[in-house]
Amino acid sequence: MKKIISIITLMIFLGACVSEDRFKEINMSGNSITPESLAQDLNFGSRFPNILRDIGFRIPWGDAQYGVDWGSDNFMRHTGTPLDEAGGRDMMSYYMVDYWNEAIWNTTYNSVMAPANVNKIMAQEANADLFAAWAELFQVIALSRATVYYGPLIYSEYGQPKKQFDYDSEEYLYEQFFDKLDQIQSVFQTSANNNVQDLVRFDASYNGNLTKWLKMINSLRLRLAMRIVKADPVLARTQGEKAIQDPVGLILSNQDNFNTSLLGGTYPVWTMSEDWGDCRMGSGMEEVLIGYEDPRIHVFFQPVADEDSDLYADHPAWPYKGIAGGAYLNKKDNYLPFSRLGTYFSPSGAGGSFRKILTAAEVHFILAEAKLRGWNGLNKTVQEYYEDGVRTSWEDWRATGDVEAYLSNDTNTPIDYVDPTDNRNSYNTKISITIKWDESAGNEEKLERIMMQKWIDSFQKSNEMWSDHRRTGYPRLSDVSKNDSNETWGIIPHGEVLKRYVFILRERQNNAAGIEEATKKLGPGGNKISTRLWIHPDKPNF
């Protein structure tokens, strides 16, 4: 018996003896990723897809709602909200609310800047220039979208172990954006020349196609150049012409559009519209699309149900109804039957799996304005860019109808808006511009026509249009029904719009000295919602 026990003990002991490699393997937690398995993805590659996704303002209860749907989309009158618990005061009626105010900042810095910074450092350590440049491109995309909210941002000092952070003025931000784009472009160009395929597995936007990324970089440069055209016309033109004349070219066809994948997530505004009843059509869309008999309305929105036909009695042939901006909202239920977001954005719809960021239609409208301003390197006429912009937009949005007939329509104009549940929100349209190009018109009218179509196309990507609207004054959008701005954060006079978001609470508290300096960079208006950005000076368009 003793013998048997000894043998068994020996066997157990021998059985426990394994080689060193095996030993490590056995003792490894099944839940953690080994450095080796990360190395297969270049250690940092697998972190890129989420950052790229987060550029798209995609969090339904965060940036996508507080920052965009209840921010720029609402200011642009693209969407409206039935939400009545906010019926008191909120950002949509120009009343500062900190957790709304900071939503875009949080995504920009926490979801893009910080992880991209870590990726950049890891990529640099591994001499992976393309990945480092890609991370820096993400930062430029994110910051260039956030600056249209806040103006000055932390960029040149970003990533340094400091106790106080100074904000860069907008002027300096754009200078850095352009410099950074130069560097990024050169790395991408070299990699493209060498046919580098490294991004393929991590790039849900372009599947690693570097030529498309180069077109995106040119288009982003063009967008930023036009943004500063009133603030610094010389730099705007230099950078704009550089983008236009680059041999790789711009995003001019919808196949090259820059979209960010939701990586399987539901389109955030769809969730807001269908699940929460927080989002409906905006009154501006009703005003313009019905006035123009524009078929994109069927893509953007769902018609109102037949049993609620009294809601659209003012235009029975067009069963759509929107909500005004900064509206008086006494009861959410009153507004729930209004037009929901289009099924195009549903999980099974053609546009439900990604967010549009920079598309061919937008580039065409920028080129139309560039040509109007006399920039060089453009071989089509303003009219051709304008009309191609509309055609490209129709194609991108899968609108069904006769686009040529639409482009030759010189009679339709936007309609007045009626709120059937509360007439305090009804108003007469301020827009009288028609669709058909008029070469004999003055520059202002031409610009207004371009902006009108750019505005329609910018649905669900209103970030740039919000800046264009503050820059040019077009389209002539309706005023807020209710203006709750006050002296604490700046008074917006009747007929004017909110100019910017203020620096966020956490920064005001933890980086007070930095904020004090940043406030000086905003000029005499200070850190208020009524202070114009540097890119939106109060001077004539031409």
Binding site: D98, I154, K162, Q164, F165, R506, N510
Partner: protein, 327 residues
């Protein structure tokens, strides 16, 4: 690291009929591991540091006595008093102004700030002019402060508990009274009820035709009454002025009341050693309360939402009936 000092003394007098127990303590917690949000420019979202100094000093006092024992009647009573003072001496030596948010929710902030105490309440409040009048905007809606301001401390000044047992022959009655004095709580529930105009407060204001305020318009005109809907939507809203919904935590309640009867079984020749029946009620009623709801309701929640009432379930009153039989 935690340094703790405790001194206590326990006295008994009159053949143990009166007792006195006193404890003083002083606890200092230093260099706690904390995750603090980094400055936004650092390139990381948060970092771990060893820092902070928090002190807790307090006294506990228990007096118990049997003041009456006369024949079949006896009365036992005990009173206890507890006082704790929590102080944040230092948060982060590298940054004197470091604020740690334990939790925040749409205008409510529970914070650790040097010089304050753990979980101090911060919220947006009214703006006042130099005559103490609430500043209004053009639409007669109150302005709110640009930044959240200190609106209250969670910890009470002291707690009192008073426990009594009275017995006469086979009957006994017990009751426990608890009191909390000082401290603050904050209620979203009250705010939202006002916002929707379904609180009694807003109904009363509608009946009176206005909310009485001591306020001032931007042009300097005094205002004494404002439209209830416009007012309550402005302050009661989730984006409202939560400083208006901070309440005093002080309350005194009858925590427990019991009535017991010992059934005299000894002489019944039953195989039963003892038996009793009793009635017991818990959380029975408030003898005094300042807040419009039970302010102790939220005190056990996580550290981020201490003192915040956000549509919490109301506290419950319980009644029990006991039968005890020992064999």
């Amino acid at each position: 690291m935690i340094k703790s000092l405790e001194v206590g003394t326990d006295w008994r007098f009159l053949e143990g009929k009166v007792g006195f127990d006193f404890t003083y303590y002083s606890i200092a917690s230093t260099d706690q591991r904390m995750s603090i949000p980094t400055l936004q420019g650092v390139g990381f979202n948060s970092m771990l540091i060893n820092a902070g100094k928090i002190t807790n000093k307090g006294i506990e006092l228990i007096v118990d006595a049997e003041p009456v024992t006369r024949g079949a009647f006896s009365w036992k009573t005990s009173l206890n008093y507890a006082h704790n003072r929590n102080k944040i001496v230092e948060v982060n030596p590298d940054d004197k102004n470091q604020i740690i948010n334990l939790g925040s929710s749409e205008g409510y902030y529970s914070r650790i700030v040097a010089g304050g105490s753990f979980g101090d309440l911060y919220a947006f409040n009214f703006e006042y002019d130099n005559q103490g009048r609430i500043k209004l905007d053009e639409n007669k809606k109150p302005l709110k402060t640009a930044e959240p301001v200190f609106v209250g401390r969670i910890d009470p000044d002291f707690n009192l508990g008073w426990n009594n047992t009275l017995s006469y022959k086979h009957f006994s009655i017990g009751f426990l009274v608890n009191g909390v004095f000082g401290g603050n709580v904050l209620s979203y529930t009250e705010a939202m009820l006002d916002n929707y105009g379904v609180s009694k407060r807003s109904a009363d204001a509608r009946d009176r035709g206005g909310v009485e305020v001591n306020a001032v318009m931007p042009d300097g005109t005094s205002v004494t009454s404002v439209d209830p809907e416009s007012w309550y939507r402005a302050i009661g809203n989730i984006n409202g002025i939560l400083g208006a919904y901070v309440y005093d935590r002080t309350n005194i309640r009858l925590t427990q009341f019991s009535l017991n009867y010992d059934i005299p079984v000894r002489n019944l020749n039953l195989p039963v050693k003892s038996a009793s029946i009793g009635l017991i009620g818990q959380n029975l009623l408030f003898l005094y309360r300042k807040a419009p709801y039970d302010p102790e309701l939220t005190m056990s929640a996580g550290s981020g939402s201490q003192a915040l009432d956000n549509f919490n379930l109301p506290s419950t009153r319980t009644y029990g009936f006991n039968i005890k039989v020992n064999f």
